[in-house]
Symmetry: D2
């Protein structure tokens, strides 16, 4: 059994990691840490895990994480970069679900995240954990930067279009909508039920931290700079991301065929039949990304619809997918459960 | 007191008309018709109106609508066009909340709505009831084509940008999100709570009936053809539309000043301060359209956020606004209640 | 115009008071205080009030509340009792929407609220502001204890049954369900959208602060001690309380007639026809309490269903109803708007 | 592999059966029938099952159900009783998720369901499929009457209390709340999102079809007639039942110990620690029933809180639990997934 640890497990990515890992046949959860909840039974904080996860949250100092083969960081931004080096030195491999290692240009990272980076050299080493792009690098990586929720849905949506070289790279638009769990489990007024329910709004239009991450990813696909407008919205549902992507076609092409071919062998990307509209609930609780391709009114604007569960393919599920790849397990192990509908 | 009638009042635009008109100090509701619910007390179908609307739904044949000064059609598409002429001939003025008279090009209408139009001459006469554009024509009109819900939010959002002549007219994008009440009060599987709750999806991407209506409106503003991609989405809330509009700027301009100036005298359009993000709940139950103007990352893409309550400014409230104008009442009479938040 | 002030206006009862009072034709809102938000425009915190409430939150020390005729306290428990005496001495009349003056037995209050009461003599003077019971006392009162949300719905539901003397007073059961706004606008994990949505739970079963308040009210009706089991639940909606009340009948009686007679002259209590089931949305945004009376299977258990909007009849609306009574305005002034449905 | 068939699979119990059975390692789904959707791919109706269930809905006449070892009926009431006999005669064992075989007294059934029963003899043979009561009978049964959703939650909640003989059997009260999926996937106005969202109501207070089923179950436990008031409510969530149960204690007892002991060996009943409040989301998507036991204010009223997922333990999950017992599989096989939270 593979020993794994979780640092900072009291948020939604934490409970989702626990849900998945506790059902993983090759994994033993060695420890889960929380400074704030040290001593509290996991099942008391997350009643869904009663009878399933017998652990208590423990103090990081006593977690003996160096005995783990893999450690997941489900911490706020800026924590993992303080602790990763000593774990790597001890031979532990690390998957960071936060943003510390996602942006290769450290100056850009520091600007958007408002802190000095503690280990720029590890940023360079870290592998961006999007298997559909970096599968081979992931297998051998010591340190994975697990992608953000919006970046996963947006990049998977744009990928075939950009790789095919048929879109105006100057004017890409990503209009994305997220369920409220994307904002985390922190007490905050704007995500209260009575604020976020029966309501819809955009946020972060002047600039959202996922913009540089997406821009970096699309630029790599394009092999050069791209222009992107990214507008995130908060929608009154718990889980789910729906990215509506717009690109101006630079030449005619069979979009449906391009997408189907690109993702033919991907276990977690499902290209819907032409004319379809994916729903977020069709991936609820699963690691799938479902994509539909449109060209409305036979015009020259491509409209790509891409949906994921932000806590699974957008966070914990993708982290376990990366772990599976790193450890030589079947890639879909423990993350192939059917979505929950209705 | 002004005698008004409502044809087809069992849907959401019907109940919303009743809510507003029953609180209008200058109006007497003479009759409300429904073939299906003839004889049923309105307050039994709509318990919110108990003690407030003492009417029963009556058979259209017995409604004596020709005794009304104003008749509202809250019927499915294709009904009003069968009945309007005789009412007009009897001196009744008509406000149609359905789509029968919205599209000036009858051939286009017939293609999108799948029926032959019964009175193309009245299409020509009808005034498109968007007061922010057609206030004077509305005052003297006999027949009002009340705008659709998406078209109201999208047109008010684009209007100043297009009038100012600073946007690439070939590539306008309207990414719009609607609450589920926009789909009406008809029994249907896809709008069941267990289907539409905790879910998000686009629909009608290949072509939605509001596309030609919006295109017609924007073309008039532009004084020529425009290119529009319109993608509607269903979001799990009862009321509200959020339109996120994208336009490529053709030259530099002070967008905030342009919007504030254009709407300075409009009682129902509120331009938010720079940097703001309007929420649909900020207009819940009210006739307001709130708009914010962005230019992310100082780029050349304008992002306009426009929110309305689809049942008020997007339907019944705007209809009453039109009635107020037609009858010489203060424009805001009975539609100036505060939004309900939370 | 009547000068009124609001102490502590940043919560949901605050914004609801503002919504109602800003539409009240006889009222001028002189000041609204908040220590935390001093200087912030009300319309910035509550975007629904843009263009309608031009005030800023001001420091309590600078509010000149003694110039008001009426001051509302929309503060946490324990604040009003510190400040009421000086206002009363200055000739100001006070309506406390918190719990400071609701419980006549100060020892009981201190036990349930965990603090020492600052002015027991004022507790004695205070009038419990449930107009259906205390209308005359309210008219002349200097200090009103505005009832809690659950207590309003439960007491109005049980009142005719107890007054008629036909129910076993030892075993009353109130199974109550509240929307999440009842928990207030404070940042807290358990009322986050992602926690409270798509979920249902009981809370406070061992003992909830509204238990002694309800018990006191029912005891007064009964003229002696009563036995009550009170179980509140959290239900995923914004507004609304649904109280399901159970009482064992001690003798046969025409329950429907008893309820209709008791509430025949009450402007805000609506007894539904026999067999009906009131919905919380039928009172959304209104000051109404709608009640239905059942006797399932012709047995000896009465089941009373009572619904209110917790922020209106359960808080701000009832406060304005009390103000109207105190000031000689028509009792329904500014609180007779139609409910918002859907 | 065990061949199973599903009759009538287009509803929510159908899709939930498919979700579970498609992940069951010992089962092959041979056919799923639907008269209305014959020829439609299952994955088109239920996009969550794309890539997982390759079947099409087939005509019942062509389903060759007699080749199955087990056939599930997920049909409306009154269908199974027409078809069961021929299947049983062919050696097929049947699990009916509808109500046809739940009520032993055929006259009572006919009164509540409004039809003549087609096979009273099979009613007698049928085993009520609540494993916590009838585990041994289930193992050998040919025909299982799978319990209703409310009856499961209510009976499991009352069971230890009644078996212990410490409650007044004349005055049991079950105040139950259900998510909207309990009303099925049929197009209907009252379960539309815009009707059922942000709303709460009781229904069926004069008499609900689950009343005789629950009464029969409690009577068997009690060994004689019992008196029950049952009030169901509709709450705006997709899945989940919360039953709040009230019973007057006839003598003192350690309720917590009684419940823990009764359910110590039950794999799907979880008795929470004293003082807890179970949430429906803690069982979302799982076959668990979680129960908490209270005695508020040390009085003589017991309050039992019992939660289930109405589509799993209240329908499809329990059906598979019964199948596992009938076929000698481990009882928890394929129904032991972790609940989905948040």
């Amino acid at each position: 059994m593979l020993k794994v640890g979780i640092v900072g497990g009291t948020g939604y990515t934490g409970v989702e990691l626990l849900r998945i890992l506790s059902q993983h046949p090759e994994v033993h959860i060695h420890a889960i840490t929380s400074r704030k909840e040290t001593g509290l039974a996991v099942a008391e904080l997350f009643p869904s895990l009663r009878g399933r996860v017998p652990l208590k949250f423990c103090d990081p100092a006593e977690a003996e994480l160096d005995k783990c083969a893999i450690v997941f960081f489900a911490t706020p931004n800026g924590i993992a970069m303080q602790q990763v080096r000593s774990l790597l030195d001890a031979g532990v491999r690390v998957i960071d679900l936060a943003a510390d290692f996602r942006i290769k240009d450290v100056a850009v990272w520091e600007k958007w995240y408002g802190m000095t980076h503690a280990c720029p050299d590890l940023v360079e080493e870290a592998v961006y954990g999007l298997p559909e792009i970096n599968r081979n690098e992931i297998k051998g990586a010591r340190l994975i930067a697990n992608p953000g929720c919006y970046p996963t849905a947006v990049q998977l949506g744009f990928l075939p279009l950009i790789e095919a070289g048929i879109v105006d790279l100057e004017h890409l638009i990503a209009d994305a909508k997220s369920g409220v769990s994307g904002a985390g489990r922190n007490a905050a007024v704007h995500t209260l039920f009575a604020e976020a329910s029966d309501n819809f709004k955009a946020y972060g239009v002047p600039g959202h931290r996922h913009l540089p991450e997406i821009r970096q990813g699309l630029s790599r696909m394009a092999g050069g700079p791209i222009g992107l407008t990214f507008v995130p919205h908060l929608t009154p549902m718990i889980r789910g991301i729906h990215a509506t992507l717009y690109g101006r076609l630079s030449r005619d092409a069979d979009l449906q065929a391009i997408y189907e071919k690109r993702y033919a062998d991907e276990p977690f990307v499902d290209v819907l039949p032409a004319g379809a509209h994916p729903e977020t609930r069709s991936v609820r609780g699963s690691n799938l990304c479902r994509i539909a391709v449109h060209r409305p009114q036979e015009g020259n604007t491509a409209v790509i619809l891409s949906v994921t569960d932000n806590l699974v393919k957008g966070a914990a599920g993708q982290a376990v997918q990366n772990m599976n790849l790193m450890c030589g397990f079947p890639e879909t192990l423990a993350i192939d459960h059917a979505p929950l509908l209705p």
